[in-house]
Amino acid sequence: MPYEPGPDVIEVMRHPAKGPAMSTLRVFGETLRGMKTTLARVAEGPLTIQYPEEKTPVYPRFRGRHKLHKFEDTGLEKCVGCSLCAAACPSDCIRVVAAENTPDNRVSAGERYAAVYEINLSRCIFCGYCEVACPFDAITMGHDYELSDYTRSDLIFTKEMLLAEPLERTPLRTEGE
């Protein structure tokens, strides 16, 4: 059965009318319009960022790869292995196994410390809830976003990796940038 458009359906013209002149315009006109924009920007110089030699700067509150922190004065880990971050994490990607500090092996300031602290970054959704949950500001979201790797298991970051400074710092945006 042929389709009967109702009275409120309007027909839309989708292309210039047929004919030699309009066909020429159709081929070149739009191209020229695009060229106008391009040529107008030539004077501004290139905007491409030469990643990975050059990195996009991020905002200070950018939520990148996590960092674990130590006290600057004592060098003790701030994390006490309380697992609150693991409880807060919506994608269940933090694993904490706590252990007890002893006088000979004092790792953190509290009674307990995290013997194992792992974040599976291939599951992390970078929501930052872990940072919010931490009662000791031990974990914060860092600025690194270079998180590709060859195997999934390499994306499970251990405590040592999270405590270490990143190999290269991610540049921060300056004010007004």
Binding site: C82, S83, E100, G110
Partner: protein, 805 residues
């Protein structure tokens, strides 16, 4: 005292109509209609409420002041409000006061996440404190015992732990020291709180003041899963919840079942879970190699080696240890009877009882339940020490005596820890049980040979009709007809709330017997051609009539009397196949194949409580290492001996069992469920074959020990178990040879308490430490059995000599 009558009263809580049993406290009544009243100190398991924390205040119309709902029973027509401003204000203030000194160190506190104080602070607190003064400080954490850490700063002085120690376990060790804000929990002189039930206070404490040392910092509530199970370390078969993290059991909690354990656990059950994940545990099959040593082997190699038993038809025997499930015992019975065409299987290692008598003692009409211990008029504890043999019954008996006025009588050779609670405690010489019972039987007929018998008979006869006799399996077989006669005279048959309750030596002894692992009974106590019992198997092994021995979770050198003769017998055996989780001495020396045994946290199967309750074991974790399900191994072995069981799952094994045991007919795993099901209460119980009690035999009087020597009695301490030995947390308890002596004898022998002694008999010498105990009858010495070294089972005669080492 018989169970109280129950009347229903109606009241209103927060506008909701409630019907509650009279005597119910308001908090509990409120729970029925989903009104939550916060509380800390109230715990019905501990007995009468004390009203210590004031958290549970509610408004009752007509009473001007707020009332504690934990100690106010419901009354007809009461109108209670729990959410009016006055109550909220009071709750706020209580929380604020509790937090004045509470450190709120939740992130490092082990209770965090499952802490009532956290929850109530969040739900009923103000969120702000007006107190800026410094909090009190204590050294923390302190070891209250090797098992429990105490953080006194966190204590909210709710009295729960102290009440447990004083009113439930009755060890009177925990007290509050100092006064006011300086009050803290401790022991009298700061000694460690070591007691068989100490771990319960960890579960009772509503804050993180008391925490478990082995579980310390292991996991948070959101890291773990709970899995219901049964503790199989003693016949109490307490219901437990395994806390599992990363497929490992990291904690055991009680799973309250008032018909079984009343919500308590002993420290063995609570902490010996560590034995599941230690290196000492056997987790792969072992086969004796060329070198003569046991070496780890593949399952194929081990099963292949074990199949050798099929070549010994008519000459095979099996011993079944108490931790076997019904299904395993049933399969072993089939292997021995059908596969090896032998009749030599035994699980009642203390001696065989005639079939008719076994049936009569297990008759459904004569069985008392665990709860009956609490509501009987009189309880007679006969030849058993509950705290060692079935610890949780000790708490039940104490509860009955303390709260329901149960009259307790104790008749045993060894003094009991329940003696102070007993109306009457009688001692007989070890070995003279039959004589004692004959005396009691005569006294019940009116001819008391002595005042003691007379007093006991009067107590049992005139103290009320509900009498429960808790008797130990170790009573000699010849005493049992007299026991039945006594039960008959007291009218215990067919009486609810009265009867006999056995304390067997093995966890699942009852189920194993019912599944047919007895020399004279098949599944369901059916009649079979009689075979050899444990002692006869040893003799037959030595004589070469039996050449193959299957040891299911039992080591004769550890668990059976006459150690030396077993050592020789095992040495003669051609093939010894064992299932075990620890390589004990006998297995290390004599086993040719050792299959790794499952722990109760890995097993699927059913077991039977001494009162006839079938309970179900469920796998909480997967098998560690190479461990395989034992039923599966047994099915493989059965096949090798020519028995096609057709069993493919643990459930199918149970189905076959219900077909083989007539009085299990109609039982399903679903019906057993998490709480268990007593078969004596089912319709199928009528299928139980009737017993026939032989007439009590004449007994001979036991001779007292000659001058300078002592009569030997044995006991098995609560800690005497291989699981305890390999649990690091329980290392401090490990049972050693404590020779219990009467003070008179100790003086005569010049032995001091704690001194090293030697126990000699026929050239055998055992080293031990003297424990002088008042209450031990003069002329007797009690030695520990079931321990790794210097165990009493090396002695064979009933007279020993104790000398200073």
């Amino acid at each position: 005292m018989p169970r109280p009558e129950q009347t229903i009263v109606k009241l209103t809580i927060d506008g909701r109509e409630v019907e509650a049993i009279a005597g119910t406290m308001l908090v509990d009544a409120a729970k029925q209609v989903d009104v939550e009243i916060p509380y800390f100190c109230y715990e019905p398991k501990l007995g009468e409420p004390v009203g210590a924390c004031r958290m549970c205040l509610v408004e009752i119309e007509g009473i001007p002041k707020l009332q504690t709902s934990c100690s106010t029973p419901v009354r007809e027509g009461m109108v209670v409000n729990t959410t009016v401003d006055r109550v909220l204000e009071a709750q706020n203030s209580v929380i604020e006061f509790l937090l004045v000194n509470h450190p709120l160190d939740c992130p490092v506190c082990d209770k965090g996440g499952e802490c009532p104080l956290q929850d109530y602070t969040f739900g009923w607190g103000r969120g702000k404190s007006r107190v800026i003064e410094p909090k009190r400080h204590f050294v923390k954490p302190l070891a209250l015992s090797p098992l429990i850490a105490i953080d006194r700063e966190r204590c909210i002085l709710c009295y729960r732990c102290v009440r447990f120690s004083q009113e439930v376990a009755e060890d009177w060790q925990l007290i509050f020291t100092e006064r006011g804000a300086h009050t803290f929990v401790g022991t009298h002189d700061g000694h460690p709180y070591v007691a068989p039930f100490s771990g319960n206070i960890v579960e009772l404490c509503p804050v993180g003041a008391l925490t478990s040392q082995p579980y310390r910092f292991r996991a948070r509530p959101w890291d773990i899963e709970g899995a219901g199970g049964i503790c199989t370390l003693c016949p109490s078969q307490c219901n437990v919840e395994f806390t599992v993290r990363d497929d490992k059991v990291v904690r055991v909690l009680s799973r309250e079942n008032s018909a079984v354990d009343d919500g308590w656990l002993c420290d063995k059950g609570r902490f010996a879970y560590q034995a599941i994940h230690v290196d000492e545990r056997i987790t792969e099959p072992l086969v004796r190699g060329e070198s003569g040593e046991l070496e780890s082997a593949s399952w194929e190699a081990a099963l292949g080696a074990a199949r050798a038993i099929a070549g010994h038809r008519g000459r095979g025997a099996a011993l079944v240890g108490g931790q076997a499930t019904n299904e395993e015992a049933y399969l072993l019975g089939r292997i021995v009877r059908e596969g090896l065409q032998s009749h030599d299987i035994d699980s009642r290692l203390s001696g065989t009882v005639e079939l008719g008598l076994t049936r009569a003692l297990a008759a459904p009409a004569l069985q008392a339940t665990v709860a009956d211990l609490e509501f009987a008029h009189t309880v007679l504890v006969l030849g058993t020490e509950p705290v060692d043999d079935s610890p949780i019954l000790d708490l039940r008996i104490r509860k009955g005596v303390r709260r329901n006025g149960v009259k307790l009588a104790i008749a045993s050779a060894r003094p009991s820890t329940l003696d102070p609670n007993a109306t009457l405690s009688l001692r007989y010489a070890p070995g003279s049980e039959a004589e004692f019972l004959a005396g009691l039987d005569a006294a019940l007929s009116g001819t008391a040979a002595s005042d003691e018998f007379g007093a006991l008979a009067t107590l049992l006869k005139d103290g009320g009709e509900d009498v429960v006799i808790l008797w130990g399996e170790s009573l000699p077989a010849q005493a049992l007809p007299t026991l039945l006669s006594i039960a008959g005279k007291l009218g215990l048959t067919d009486r609810d709330g009265a009867g006999l309750l056995e304390v067997p030596n093995g966890t699942n002894a009852r189920g194993i017997r019912e599944a047919g692992a007895l020399p004279n009974a098949g599944p369901g106590y059916s009649e079979v051609q009689a075979g050899r019992n444990a002692a006869e198997i040893a003799a037959a092994l030595t004589a070469g009539d039996v050449t193959v021995l299957y040891l299911f979770q039992v080591d004769p050198l550890r668990d059976l009397p006459a150690r030396a003769s077993w050592d020789a017998a095992l040495g003669k055996a051609a093939v010894v196949v064992a299932h075990a989780s620890v390589l004990t001495e006998g297995l290390a020396r004599h086993a040719d194949v050792v299959f790794p045994a499952e722990s109760s946290a890995e097993k699927e199967g059913t077991i039977v409580h001494p009162d006839g309750r079938l309970q179900r074991l469920r796998a909480a974790i997967k098998h560690p290492g190479e461990v395989r399900a034992s039923w599966q191994v047994l099915v493989d072995i059965a096949k090798a001996t020519g028995v096609e069981t057709g069993i493919l799952t643990a459930g199918m094994a149970f189905q076959q069992l219900t077909k083989a045991v007539p009085f299990y007919a109609g039982l399903t795993l679903e019906a057993i469920g998490g709480r268990g099901l007593r078969w004596p209460e089912t319709d199928a119980a009528a299928e139980m074959p009737a017993g026939a009690a032989p007439a009590p035999a004449k007994v001979q009087a036991t001779e007292p020990a000659p001058e300078g020597k002592l009569l030997l009695g044995t006991y098995r301490s609560i800690w005497a178990s291989t699981e305890v030995e390999i649990s690091p947390a329980l290392a401090f308890t490990i049972a050693e040879q404590l020779v219990e002596l009467a003070p008179q004898d100790a003086i005569a022998l010049g032995i001091e308490h704690g001194a090293a002694v030697q126990v000699a008999q026929n050239g055998t010498r055992l080293a031990g430490r003297a424990a002088i105990r008042t209450g031990v009858p003069a002329g007797t010495a009690f030695l520990a059995a079931g321990i790794a070294e210097n165990s009493a089972n090396a002695l064979t005669e009933s007279i020993v000599e104790v000398v200073k080492a």
